[in-house]
């Protein structure tokens, strides 16, 4: 990466197909611009798909045709993706914990959900949520190796 000043903003309308495309576009762009390797770009795509699927499923409760924005900012040593929607806020106004220290031996109570946030937390170096002007703003950041 060569310059601090390359930003991109994507605008789409909510649908599972559109968010899958968006996750791909953004991860390809980050792969090109931030020179991350293919594995990292794959995992980034997965995280974006998880966060964007949550927006369609939970924030918009499955409704299609609602606005979603993705702002991508490249800085010298990291990049950020901000996901913005106008749907329902996160429960308790914060990002679900999604910690991966559930009890492996408690067979009956193995979690059947929450893996999305575990994956996001394992990959991103910064996760910040804010409710702003009636919008959900989720900021995901990743440091780049020197």
């Amino acid at each position: 990466m060569n310059d601090m000043s390359q930003d991109a903003r994507f605008s789409i309308l909510s649908s599972f197909e559109n968010v899958a495309n968006l996750a791909e576009d953004v991860s390809v762009l980050c792969g090109n611009r931030a020179e991350i390797d293919e594995d990292t770009a794959d995992m980034l795509r997965l995280c974006l798909a998880e966060a964007l699927n949550n927006i369609v499923e939970h924030a918009y409760q499955g409704a299609e045709g609602k606005p979603i924005f993705a702002d991508v900012q490249f800085m010298r040593d990291r990049f950020e993706v901000h996901l913005i929607d106008e749907g329902q806020p996160m429960p308790q106004g914060q990002v679900p914990s999604g910690d991966a220290d559930y009890d492996l031996d408690d067979f009956e109570n193995l979690p059947e959900g929450g893996f999305g946030w575990m994956l996001i937390r394992s990959q991103m170096d910064m996760i910040e949520y804010e409710r702003r002007d009636g919008c959900n703003v989720l900021r995901l950041g990743k440091e780049l190796e020197a």
Binding site: D39, D42, N53, A100, F107, G113, F115, L119, S122
Partner: protein, 106 residues
């Protein structure tokens, strides 16, 4: 018996169908099962959920194993610590050998 997933992705569009079909099969046939994931290049959280559902469904008396994991699937299992819950085999052949070994022991 071996359940081979033909699709290259287990994501929100397909995870539900996959789980339902597998559960139907496993209620009709009370056998051990190895899920062959060698065609699956991409698995998301709903794919992981469907595997956990299957494991609970089959219960403690039967075996559910995974085989032929591609790198992304391996990584997704590891990051959610599900690699500690599932028995995995390199490929279908290994899964069959393991089943034969169990049969010989019992």
């Amino acid at each position: 018996m071996i359940l081979t997933v033909e699709k290259p992705r287990i994501d929100s569009q397909i995870a539900g169908v996959f789980r339902d079909e597998a559960e139907d099969y496993l209620s009709d046939n009370r056998v051990d099962c190895a899920v062959d994931l060698s065609n699956v290049r991409f698995m998301d959280s709903t794919g992981l959920s469907s595997l956990v559902s299957l494991l609970k469904f089959i219960g403690p008396d039967r075996k559910l194993e995974l085989c032929g994991l591609t790198p992304q699937v391996t990584k997704a299992l590891k990051l959610t610590r599900l690699d500690d819950i599932f028995v995995t085999r390199a490929n279908v052949r290994e899964a069959e050998l393991a089943r034969e070994a169990r049969a010989a022991m019992s």
